[in-house]
């Protein structure tokens, strides 16, 4: 291999110049959350497990009718997850609470995409098929998706589902926060409009957080003193309040750190303006030049 002095310094110079010209921005990680998103509160003490939200969701989103729509019995025998046919499901949990006759009291919990403020799925998506909208909705664009399923690996709530049985054009499936409806003035998500017990309250997230806190204050002893989703993974658009510990209804204990913070910090401090690869290129180039000069004539026949 010939390493001509001139071409070597030309390319090395370019690499070096771009390193010094564009120093790595020492910027700390910043949240990309929208300033005034919508939110939805789930009050688990009010939910009676009627599963009307499941039905409404299926209807407004053109999904198949939920399994046994009017059943509040055997559907609850197994724990269900949102899947490629349902954006949301309600599960029943017996957490050890008893009523006045010492019979176990059920707690019902609806589960759907939390529409995180700094969503792991959005950060992870290789092509940006998932985006966080100003409304707070985390939207999915199937035309960009390549089906790598990294969003599913990343989501701390294990929400995105996949159409595993479609061989050519499978999609990622998850609650859309009824973007088409809430982006219009006065629009409400399908599930929140139907709830007969007002267990679901939709509004601006800021307002919803206050509503939740007020309920905690006004009913001392009734609720666990925590608004789930206010701080978890940097905050979510969907919020929960409950009288039973959240981890008992499959709402995981999570840190307040936004999920993408660590990986994005590492990626950007190493690769913004490609400074570290360029620097490495420069160092290796210098080494190569030196070692080839020291060896006298560069031996090339044995290698490349």
């Amino acid at each position: 291999m010939q390493l001509s002095r001139r071409s070597f310094f030309k390319i090395m110079g370019a690499a070096g110049a771009s390193v010094t010209a564009l120093p790595p921005s020492a910027n700390a990680w910043k949240s990309k959350a929208p300033p005034d998103p919508y939110g939805c509160l789930v009050d688990l003490t009010r939910c009676v497990g009627c599963r009307k939200c499941e039905e409404a969701c299926a209807e407004v989103n053109g999904l198949p009718t939920p399994e046994r729509p009017n059943c509040q019995c055997i559907v609850f025998d197994k724990k269900r997850r949102p899947d490629d046919k349902a954006y949301t499901v309600v599960n029943r949990y017996f957490t050890g609470k008893l009523d006045q006759f010492d019979k176990p009291l059920p707690t019902y919990a609806k589960v759907q995409c939390m529409h995180c403020q700094d969503p792991a799925c959005v950060s992870a998506c290789i092509v940006g098929a998932l985006t966080k909208d100003e409304t707070g909705a985390v939207r999915y664009d199937a035309t960009k998706c390549i089906g790598c399923r990294y969003c599913m690996v990343a989501c701390p709530f294990e929400i995105p589902a996949y159409e595993y049985h479609d061989p050519i054009t499978p999609r990622v499936i998850k609650c859309s926060f009824c973007y088409d409806r809430i982006s219009k003035k006065g629009g409400l998500p399908g599930c929140a409009t139907i709830c007969p017990t007002e267990a679901l309250t939709f509004g601006k997230r800021e307002t919803i957080v206050k509503v939740a806190q007020k309920r905690l204050e006004e009913n001392p002893g009734k609720y666990i003193d925590h608004v789930y989703g206010e701080k978890e993974v940097g905050g979510t658009s969907w919020l929960y309040i409950s009288s039973v510990p959240f981890e008992k209804v499959n709402l995981p204990v999570l840190s307040d750190k936004p999920s993408p913070k660590l990986s994005e910090t590492i990626q950007h401090s190493l690769f913004s303006y490609l400074w570290s690869p360029l620097a490495l290129f420069g160092v290796l180039g210098a080494l190569m030049y030196k070692s080839n000069k020291n060896q006298g004539e560069p031996e090339n026949k044995g290698g490349y």
Partner: protein
């Protein structure tokens, strides 16, 4: 070097090759099934477990084991240790084939294979996977370019296409010669680029899991996971070369290259030592050794990985006697290779356990068929290439 690389000119169809064919056919049938019935038809992947055997082995392990390519290129060409040049070609071939099969594996695994080009136009620079994909894509082409001189060397002045195609002989010969001449001048750019790209994506493969702290077992989840991935790629490069060279030279009956392999293992003691230092140090700093005696399959898998894949081979290689025996070097190298394979499998499959909805995962037969089929095809092509192109060192015995 006394002898130079040359085509093997040996019999191609051996019983081993026929076994490969059987695996290739089984893999082919499974791939057909995947593209008719969907991924769910032949895999045990679920919404909780979106990545399984294919990502863990075909992609993550494939990339790690192709590390021999950039580590030998760095040693021989960048650090100027030309003594090691005889092993750069086989390592380059393994890397080029390895990455080709990583991409083939990805094509089977991703849901919309036909959309694999989309990341080129839709950038998400926050995504670790985006960076990995870009690096792998560029690096694959760098590897192909690095391989052109090998092809040129064999066919320069003797391009001989059959039948009517022979009118192109002159043209192709010219193209080969021009490419070879140009490449000779600028190959250093590609060699350095290859090393830089490798460092980038080898480490970033480890960053992939950083976004899922609740899913990966704490024995593996650490903020320095990318560093550990990079260090283990450095450490496995030469053992992989030892591993494949030993197998190739014994199955093709070539001269053993102990004179080169033995010193390579001395470097390995150093590189593996650094990896071990960080891996154990990380465990002590984060205090995760408390999990070691849990006795479940995850922690046991970690213990096997550390003990047999890192510590035992490292201690073995400390002994001069082991380093100078063909058996000893091969055993240690195999253990290290196995250790890195297990590490990637642990990070992407065994250690991965989504707490809310996990239902356990064991790969379905279809997944094994595809993976084994791809590996068999890789070996088949390797054999094909070394039979007809000057990759391996010519043996002294008269070719049969």
């Amino acid at each position: 070097m006394e002898h130079k690389a040359g085509p093997l000119n040996k019999k191609f169809w051996t019983p081993g090759v026929l076994v490969m064919l059987v695996f290739m056919i089984a893999g082919g049938i499974s791939i057909l099934a995947r593209f008719t019935g969907g991924i769910g038809y032949i895999t045990n992947l679920t919404n909780a477990r979106p990545w399984g055997l294919w990502v863990g082995v075909d992609v993550a392990t494939g990339v790690a084991l192709a590390a021999g390519g950039f580590t030998t290129a760095a040693l021989a060409h960048i650090f100027g240790k030309h003594y090691y040049e005889p092993v750069t070609r086989p390592a380059l071939l393994t890397a080029a084939l390895g990455y080709t099969f990583v991409v083939l594996g990805l094509l089977v695994d991703i849901g919309r294979s036909w959309a694999i080009w989309k990341p080129i136009f839709n950038w998400n620079t926050n995504s670790v996977l985006f960076e990995v994909a870009m690096c792998v894509m560029v690096y694959l082409h760098v590897l192909y370019i690095e391989f052109i001189p090998v092809v040129a060397e064999q066919f320069k002045d003797r391009v001989n296409l059959p039948g009517p195609l022979s009118v192109f002989n002159g043209l192709i010969d010219m193209i080969l010669k021009i490419a070879d001449a140009i490449l000779d001048k600028i190959m250093w750019v590609f060699i350095i680029l290859g090393v830089v790209l490798s460092c980038m994506h080898q480490s970033s493969l480890g960053s992939l899991m950083l976004i899922a702290p609740t899913k990966l077992h704490p024995l593996w989840y650490t903020p320095i996971l990318p560093l550990l991935f990079l260090l283990s790629a450095f450490a496995v490069g030469y053992p992989m070369v030892v591993f494949e060279t030993t197998i190739a030279s014994s199955s093709f009956n070539l001269d053993s290259e102990m004179n080169i392999l033995a010193p390579l293992t001395r470097i390995t003691v150093f590189l593996l030592g650094i990896y071990m230092f960080f891996k154990l140090g990380d465990m002590f700093v984060r205090g995760t050794y408390t999990y070691l005696l849990d006795g479940n399959y995850q922690t046991n898998s970690f213990i096997v990985e550390m003990l047999f894949g890192v510590m035992i081979p490292w201690v073995m290689l400390l002994f001069e006697k082991v380093r100078n025996s063909r058996r000893g070097v091969f055993t240690a190298a195999s253990l290290i290779v196995g250790g890195v394979v297990l590490n990637r499998i642990n990070v992407f499959i065994v250690g991965y356990k989504p707490p809310l909805s996990d239902n356990g995962y064991f790969p379905a037969p279809g997944e094994f068929f595809v993976t084994l089929g791809l590996i068999a095809t890789l070996m088949f092509v390797y054999r094909l290439v070394v039979t007809w192109l000057p990759v391996l060192q010519e043996s002294k015995e008269v070719p049969s």
